[in-house]
Amino acid sequence: MRDLFRGELVRLTAEEPELRAKQEARWARDTEFHRLADSDAAQLYSDKKIKEWIEKNFEDGFKPDRYPFSIRTLDDDKLIGFLGLWLNLIHSEVWLGIGIGEREYWGKGYGTDAVKLCLRYAFMELGAQRVSLGVHEYNPRAFRAYEKAGFRLEGRTRKDIMREGTRTDSLWMGILREEWMQLQNGGQP
């Protein structure tokens, strides 16, 4: 059996609160990253505070509806981002959130690789029937990465985000289990 946590460029690893918090505090100083990953106003928190939040999430141990990961490069084991899956246990739907914090790794296929890994994990390990995500209209690089991994555009919330005086849309994407299976099979049903 293949290792579900290992892709071609990255692997998914456990979250380590201290390291993750240090990196995240650094990534957050890059307001472009913040705007791509989030719709809130950019705000800065100390790595101590972030570490507390991450640790709090782990206080009760594994939760059956929450699957957090760190993203590390295969090459030099560098922590470059994070990824989280939220499983709706009743309806077998998964929400995906991902961020590549290290700028040098943007646009090189690392995010796409991580998304592909988590789709396999969601469908083959968690038994998901669909995976959903939201992305800003002003983040075409992410949008293309999701499309490459198999996501389809399903809808948009028009003009809900205001950035730099311009209103833009939120886009909603999804992929069904059968669609993903077909992709693995070279497009054959």
Binding site: P64, L87, I90, E125, G127
Partner: protein
Amino acid sequence: MNDILSGTLVRLSAVDPDEFSKAFAVWQRDSEFMRLMDSNAARLGSQKDSQKSLEKELEEQQLHQHGFTIRTLAEDKLIGDIGLYVVNWSGRDAFVGLGIGERDSWGKGYGTDAMNLILRYAFMEVNLRRVTLTVFEYNPRAIRSYEKAGFRHEGRLRKLLHRDGKRYDELFMGVLRDEWMELTQ
């Protein structure tokens, strides 16, 4: 849509730790009930302790636990409890546990009715794939009731139980969603 928590004889109601622990304190004095419900030695615990542990369970709102009390439709009397415990979300399998504490309510179809309700809840509301239970060889009334609800015999742990100097098997039963759908159509 029908109210999925009401059957023909009973309904499933919320767990009230105060009410339930008081009823259970009375039921546990009946060692036959305790032996039918649990494989451990029958023992007596305080009402306060069981109330506390129920309150703790409710506070945590555990995702994998769906517990109800059982009340008669005729008199709205609390007669027992039933609960699903999801053991494996990716396999979508849950254990079900059922106890009718009121002796007067044994052998009258209340338990079967409650089991029919929890199966509908498991398959139609929680979208599970299978439901599993264990029952003791010395409890033929329960075994018949589970068979009526659609459970099939799947295996046994031989001579696991020791009661009154004799050894008995623990039986495993299970029902798949597809089987249950066929039965109820």
